[in-house]
Symmetry: D2
């Protein structure tokens, strides 16, 4: 970490600051310039809060040199992580060249609904089944999901098709209910629900960590670090669009996050074009773009009757539309 | 709610849509224009998801007319809400002309630290004491707060000064620990941790609900609605800056949120200039601006030794600086 | 356009508003709801400013139904526009299935530099040559480009290779100098320099209109409309990233803008991955993603010696790197 | 400037980089850490583009230490700048404790309109008259202002009241028409129209430089630097709201920009609450907040008949409302 002092800082102030830094177990390297003093902090600076330093009256600016994440950092773990999901012959790998196609409805609604969709998307090449049982909704008056009953229906659909299941957790208190879920999703709104992340870090379940609505890529990796610091290294990241000032699409899908994450981290990254755009007619082009950008997988909403979906139907494809997207993705994968 | 259909929609598509809307228990009023059909949705449209509608291929745009929040809505509750905090002679009111001055350190560190600060800020006119026991930190390696021990120290400081205490909750699982806390804070990162909001809605504790990092004012009010829908109407909103592209201050303090919230809702709103700017030297001017804009209170970080604070010291005032701000705020309050 | 009145508006206020709207030559259709009155504005509402209406004390919300752009609107011009650039055997088409590969250095620096690069990128399949002569720089002390001399060197490179040339205009006063330029670029910072747009609308030169730093897609199309309203329909749009809160990349490349623009407008749209990301190592993946998303072309910075470029070298590819990207793009084009 | 090299950079790459930096006339100070090399750039680094450096493959990060603006920098010019506007007995000062109250309509519409408003706002204490003659409008079909005729009417209103006049310039070509204007405004959309800024730098006219829609504070100061580098030091900055994701107000008024600008620069800064919020009912509270935050003035839209204004009427106060705001501002000024 490098701290630049303001012009005119007194020797006493300088000495106090240096003593405080050393008191944190960090060494310093001082270089006096014509107008300013630059202090290099050497050693384990992860315990020093750059915001604290940069707010001090005597500090002009602070730059972090080494990334504050360790477990998620490609520098200390050069090889791609490959996450294994599910068991036996239905086991699926994601990352390191293994591509995952996740599909299913926004919400689980009934046994026939989820099982029919599961069969349809499997026939089109999906390798995992998604479906919401607990739903984060902006309004308390909106449909909140079927809860534990929805999880049960997902298990039935898994039994019928062999597809491992992916579904969102919204509370630490629900962890027991998720023991049998193959890939546990942490939604965008909970990306910095640190108590939930710590709890998941104590399990060894594969986690799908969605990017927060307005989180930087480094904050996102720090949230992965929260889980990994607990010993759980089975993390898959999911880009799902970030908030912007343009209202035509729900969010702006940040596809450059794919090569950036691959540069900074060894974790796999997949893309959710359905939530990112909020419009099913934009899903096919954004799916192909994500694959071309190097994504390790896609998670796509599919509904057998979009106009009657209880939630988010607008961003869902029909099974036939999904089949077409899956075919194009497969063709594209072969040349990328 | 008003839905505008695209040009060229077939009669069958139109009929299907109208039947679906009616199936949700909502009536429709259709007006055919030269190029387009406009459908007015009449009745309780809070169950209709505008995102779902606007994503349908046959829909051009959707506008919500009545706000989706009810309990928090000034239209149905014209008088200002006044929240009462604490008990007996130390009881404090916020809202409806009652101004609250909340002060204290970012983190509770020791009995002498929190008690000394509590005495100092009380002498300067503070009416509540803040202090973090559970701390949300971007990095798992940063100081996470003293936890339950910190709550105990806050109670000691309350006993020593009579000031009601304010501190942040980070998990539903901790609710028992907070039974004795006078005002429970929900932090920006948990503004849409809906399970936590529901849990707090089942209590009758006063809640300080901070605005999410990038939440709209309406999303913020919907989060208040989550708590209120459970029967707990003791909500105070707190503007603490929103994320922007400028990196000079930590966030952009959105002071126009004050008159806007007062227009849309009857709930009190206070301002946190310390977290918003991240720089203590900007706190005095932003405190005065918040008061001039009509805030119902301020929550300001004060530390007895900012350069040695374990966290966020950069945004903390010394007791002497706080005393000066408090005096100016008092003078300003008299003329606003 | 639809205006929703607030509850409690008086009959007089309502009548005044309706009379004012009719005075603008626009008809009204009134529908009285249980709590609110909704006014539909019928006819040519492009002269009514929705911001004006929505700011009135008696108005709750305003929704524009028909897009305020006419010339650029696909509704009134369903077929894709094809823009023709250059003359004779070197003529290039963009749009309607015609893909353009534009390449060249950020700044023109010398005859050998621009001519060498032109030859190299032509050999790799580039169909137009880009190069900056007038440069928009944040600082007045940064290199501002070679100006008219740079234009002369571009002409020499065109003569040597036959590639039509693309370069940025920064002032109406320079229009005479650009008479011989094949495709005139309007930069992001000038997207709402309306006097410049009007001036270009009076020519019949092909224009490459970059998206403003924080402009919505509709504002961007309105800027195209400024040029087209003057009679010049030869517009190509260029997505080059939008401003966000994440500082790792210079901007966030918004690839969903491609299908959205194609839905709203008939104009061709190309992508600039070099300026969007600011890092040459992200250019290959973002180029492929743009093609997969349906872009009508790419504009890529190429420099023969990136570490010595006077400006923006960091985002430039070497000719060898460009050759590799061009080959992959070609392979991808064949299957998309 | 400080550049941090990536781990694993070769000695040759390091030497090449250092030679290139020295070739720009800048000295270097190298410090080798355990994992990384840090290069300090010493001397006039304003010619080095940090974006170029940070994009190089061998560079991890770049930090600018000294601000790239010189003329606008408080470090080199500690005393507040006071800008003088107008002549003789009507001369007005802004900055260094001199507060300006600027008021008038969005657009000049007729002699009686502008003169009546001028008289009214003068009676309420306004010290300058604003009014648009050339109007920047998002749509080419919206009213574009009266142009030169509007300037003539402003001169008449000045003659009738003695108030110096403020109006926006939209093109270098119009400079002759503005010779007689007391304070020339550069609008948000032209903040980075660098040719216009250079042209104004060659005059000695006072300039009101509005902040760009999404510009950082430092970019804004760099635009002031463009004008000042030409020798014109009569700059007043104007905060007018920045773009955000919340659509309730037109923009987010960034009042922390006031103390930040005063820290970084010696130039006066005023606030435009009318354009920032887009709603006249929010203007009074935001005016008071701006004054409390330390603004050197306000620019407020006033119209004698808001519901009939040709543009932006929604954000205009009536003269009676303005009178009330002016009284409160005056009372507040006395205690701040």
């Amino acid at each position: 970490m490098i701290a630049v002092l303001k012009a005119g800082v007194s020797e006493t102030q300088k000495k106090n600051l240096i003593n405080w830094i050393k008191g944190q177990g960090v060494d310093v390297h001082i270089s006096e310039g014509q107008f300013q003093t630059v202090i290099g902090l050497i050693g384990d600076t992860s315990r020093i809060d750059p915001d604290l330093l940069s707010g001090l009256d005597i500090i002009e600016s602070v730059t972090r040199i080494s990334e504050p994440f360790k477990c998620a950092n490609r520098r200390f773990h050069p090889a791609d992580t490959i996450v294994e999901i599910g068991e036996g012959e239905n086991k699926v790998k994601i990352g390191g060249g293994n591509f995952a196609m996740i599909a299913g409805p926004c919400s689980v609604e009934s046994e026939s609904q989820i099982t029919d969709i599961a069969k349809a998307v499997k026939a089109s090449g999906a390798t995992l089944l998604r479906g919401g049982a607990f739903k984060p909704r902006t309004s308390p008056y909106d449909f909140q999901g079927m809860g534990a009953d929805g999880l049960e229906l997902l298990r039935k659909a898994r039994k019928a098709t062999g597809l491992p299941i992916v579904t969102e957790i919204m509370s630490e208190k629900h962890l027991d209910l998720f023991e049998d879920v193959d890939l546990i999703q942490v939604g965008a709104r909970n990306m910095q629900n640190f108590e939930l992340l710590k709890t998941l870090g104590r399990t060894r379940k594969p986690i799908l960590l969605k990017r927060g609505l307005s989180s930087t890529i480094k904050e996102w990796l720090m949230s992965a670090e929260y889980i990994m610091a607990g010993g759980n290294e089975n993390i898959i990241l999911c880009e799902r669009g970030i908030r912007s000032y343009d209202t035509y699409t729900r969010n702006v899908l940040d596809l450059s996050a794919i090569p950036v994450v691959k540069e900074l981290s060894h974790l796999p990254i997949i893309v959710d074009p359905s939530h990112a755009t909020g419009k099913s007619r934009l899903v096919p082009s954004m799916s192909l773009a994500a694959v071309a950008a190097g994504a390790d997988g896609l998670i796509i909403e599919v509904h057998n009757d979009p106009e009657h979906a209880l939630c988010d139907g607008a961003q869902s494809l029909t099974p036939a539309q999904f089949d077409e997207v899956a075919k194009k993705v497969k063709a594209l994968k072969e040349i990328v």
